[in-house]
């Protein structure tokens, strides 16, 4: 084969890839891009620019709560963080970690008489698309495992303009022993729809990342709902056994499905 940079036909250069492009079926990473000199071709460069423009759009699209409720097939307790809008949310993470006053009152009014074992909380985070798309599927896989473990579950809550820690405050008001927060991770170029899962034992305001266990990249083409639900249920059972979460709780699950999903 000829050197990829030694081409007299511009159309051929546009089509040109590195000879190992067959490896792309193993990963969504931008491998075998080819080169002109040591740089990207115009076509590859424009692909990147377009992906970036689309990711920027994903950050700023609001969560559609009515559609989410319809997809879930169950009522959602709607609460909001102290960040009044997206611009404030992006610049004030401290506001995104706390509930506004109305939301506190709304949750206090529905606090179960018997303390629930687990609180399930959804939030938009930095990609409402992830929550919109993957929260229903994940919960369909996860809820039966919680039931199997004999754990009671608080009413499902959704927080808008929310960060991970807002789940702690929500769960504390509901009196839950453990919170599972499902939140949109910040969009990447190839995946603007990754859902992240954060488990926190004894949730309360002031918990830190060291107190949490995380499962990330839950999305079609990423970690499957079933895999994530299996891991989350395992961590939940261990958290109840050890009465803790975070760095003291090691995920010792072995992958359920050895043939992990890859991009087509």
């Amino acid at each position: 084969m000829t050197d990829p940079t030694d081409l007299t036909d511009p159309a051929a250069l546009r089509r040109r890839e590195d000879p190992w492009s067959g490896l792309r079926r193993h990963t969504s990473a931008r491998i075998a891009l080819g080169r002109t000199g040591v740089s990207l071709s115009t076509a590859r460069n424009l692909e990147f620019q377009m992906a970036h423009a689309q990711a920027r759009t994903a950050v700023h699209t609001p969560l559609d709560l009515d559609a989410l409720e319809a997809d879930l097939g169950e009522p959602l307790l709607r609460v909001a963080s102290r960040a009044p809008d997206r611009a404030a949310y992006l610049q004030r993470p401290d506001w995104g970690r706390r509930l506004d006053a109305n939301s506190v009152a709304r949750l206090e009014a529905v606090r179960p008489a018997t303390a629930p074992d687990v609180a399930l909380v959804l939030a938009d985070g930095l990609s409402s698309l992830a929550t919109q798309q993957s929260a229903p599927g994940f919960l369909r896989a996860f809820r039966p495992l919680l039931a199997e473990a004999g754990l009671s579950v608080a009413p499902l809550v959704v927080a808008t303009q929310g960060r991970v820690a807002v789940g702690d405050e929500i769960a504390a008001i509901l009196g839950a022993k453990l919170v599972v927060m499902m939140i949109g991770e910040r969009p990447g170029l190839s995946a603007a729809d990754s859902l992240g899962l954060y488990l926190t034992w004894a949730p309360k305001v002031g918990r830190t990342d060291a107190d949490r266990n995380c499962i990330s990249n839950i999305r079609p083409g990423g970690q499957s709902y079933e895999d994530a639900a299996y891991r989350a249920a395992w961590l939940t059972r261990e958290a109840f056994k050890l009465q803790l979460s975070g760095v003291g709780l090691k995920d010792r699950t072995v992958t359920v499905d050895a043939s992990a999903q890859v991009e087509g």
Binding site: T2, D3, T5, D18, P19, W20, G22, L23, R24, H26, T27, S28, A29, R30, I31, L33, R35, V38, S39, L40, R44, F48, H52, R56, V59, L90, Q91, R92, P93, D94, L126, E185, R186, P187, G188, L189, S190, A191, S194, T208, D209, A210, N213, C214, I215, S216, N217, G222, Q223, R231, G246, V247, K250, D251, R252, T253, T255, A260, Q261, V262
Partner: protein, 463 residues
């Protein structure tokens, strides 16, 4: 109490940490913390007051309390006053002038490093323009070794970062192959795992070790998991070259990461006991980034750039092979746009190098920041000129696991060509020998996989 007159107006700064914060070039994280100067005039007034401050002040007045913060105790208790002697009479302003002078050559700066505290270098950085940050840092050499030699003059290494959203071994192998074809990977082949699952970590460590052994690549591997995970992997007999950990500049922030200095000492000792290095035994890899203390609500009213410099004091205790600031990863609430990210990247490199830390930089941004690849090109070029030890290498600059953009394999080759920067010598020799990239200074990758790699490639393609 510190103060400075501007005409008839007197600007007062009640303590050292406030003076430092007000003197810091504007960034969103200090605004978020309520620490930034209210006006441009107040900022320059603070810089003027800071310029008059004797360097010795930093040994008697601390910004985070000694009694309650083990990072402060580390800084004060390990200060080398003999090394500090040559500059001990200077003010911060004098110190900047001296750093720019011809007297401050590589040997003088290396000898001085143990005598400097993070607060001293943070203070002087606040008085530096962009070109000062580049010129001074370019005189610092911090050389470290494991299976190759990093940080030599006119060398630029890369971390090959073959992340995959589900840690799929074939996907990681594919990105690793792509990177090696583009001459990437001399700093480390380092994977951010998708989960903190111990079994997955051990599997990934074995994969990387096999590749490195099979082709006798003069480099090292790392799975960037929590230090306790890596220690558990070591106990299971996994092939651990480097132990990774994210670190920060206060005890409280480190607590939020689930670490203490003692735990890092344990991790360091466990890793060193494996003796897997061939040309040296620097075996720790740390990542940092401005804003991490504030993010953990553990900033003590200190500006984020000063706290970042304190993280380097933590790093240097363990003679790491690699330290990098993940400068734009944390988001717009700490570094709002390309301009702030560029400034922060140069400051971090400058402060780390003056303290004797082998600085690299993850030149990066997220999709919710006001930045794009053009800003990264600028920072890459400036850090290349400043003599950065290493940068990241990712297929197409797009990390499909961590969802952010950093520098690509192509970007590293751009920097090599424009600035004449070569890979680590052992790795460059290996690239040449393998037929991946001739050591002729042109930095042109091979168009075809060399015979030695093509069999494994065929196998991988067929899987």
């Amino acid at each position: 109490m510190y103060s400075h007159h501007v005409g008839a107006e007197l600007f007062r700064f009640p303590d050292l940490r406030t003076l430092m914060a007000r003197a810091t070039p504007l960034r969103s994280g200090d605004q978020l913390a309520g620490l930034a100067a209210a006006t441009d005039v107040e900022r320059v007034a603070a810089q003027a007051a800071l310029a008059d401050l004797p360097l010795k002040t930093f040994l008697s007045e601390v910004v985070v309390p000694y009694d309650t913060d083990e990072v402060t105790r580390l800084i004060i208790d390990t200060h080398d006053s003999a090394a500090f002697a040559p500059v001990s009479h200077m003010t911060v302003g004098d110190f900047r002038d001296w750093l720019l002078s011809d007297a401050a050559d590589s040997a003088a700066l290396a000898a001085l490093a143990p005598g400097l505290t993070p607060e001293m270098v943070a203070a002087v950085s606040k008085l530096c323009r962009t070109q000062d940050l580049i010129l001074i840092a370019s005189k610092c050499r911090v050389v470290t070794k494991f299976r190759n030699t990093l940080g030599l003059e006119k060398r630029l290494a890369t971390r090959l970062q073959p992340n995959h959203p589900t840690d799929d071994l074939r996907g990681i192998a594919a990105s690793t192959f792509d990177g090696l074809m583009y001459g990437s990977g001399d700093a480390v082949i380092g994977i951010n795992p998708a989960t903190d699952n111990l079994h997955a970590t051990v599997e990934l460590l074995h994969l990387l070790d096999e590749v490195i052994q099979e082709y006798a690549i003069p480099t090292q591997s790392c799975v960037l998991s929590h230090v306790t995970n890596t220690m558990a992997a070591i106990e299971e007999g996994a092939p651990v070259d480097l132990t990774f950990q994210s670190i920060a500049g206060t005890e409280a922030a480190n607590t939020s990461f689930g670490i203490t200095l003692d735990l890092l000492t344990e991790g360091h000792e466990a890793t060193q006991s494996l003796k897997r290095g061939t040309v040296g035994q620097n075996c720790m890899y740390f990542e940092t980034g401005q804003g991490s203390c504030l993010s953990a609500d553990a900033h003590h009213g200190v500006d984020q750039q000063t706290l970042e410099a304190r993280a380097y004091a933590v790093a240097r205790k363990y003679q790491p092979l690699l330290v990098n600031t993940v400068v734009g990863f944390i988001g717009p609430e700490y570094l709002y746009d390309g301009r702030q990210i560029i400034r922060a990247g140069l400051e971090d490199h400058f402060c780390g190098k003056l303290l004797g830390v082998p600085m690299g930089c993850d030149i990066c941004y997220t999709n919710h920041a006001e930045a794009d690849q053009n800003d990264m090109d600028v920072l890459l070029t400036l850090l290349g000129a400043a003599g950065i030890n290493y940068i990241m290498g990712i297929p197409g600059a797009d990390d499909v696991m961590l969802s952010y953009q950093t520098t690509s394999f192509h970007d590293a080759l751009y920097a090599r060509r424009v600035l004449g920067l070569r890979p680590a010598p052992e790795f460059e020799e290996w690239l040449d020998r393998m037929g991946l990239m001739a050591a002729d200074g042109a930095f042109t990758p091979a168009s075809q996989p060399p015979a030695a790699l093509s069999q494994r490639l065929s196998l991988l393609e067929a899987q």
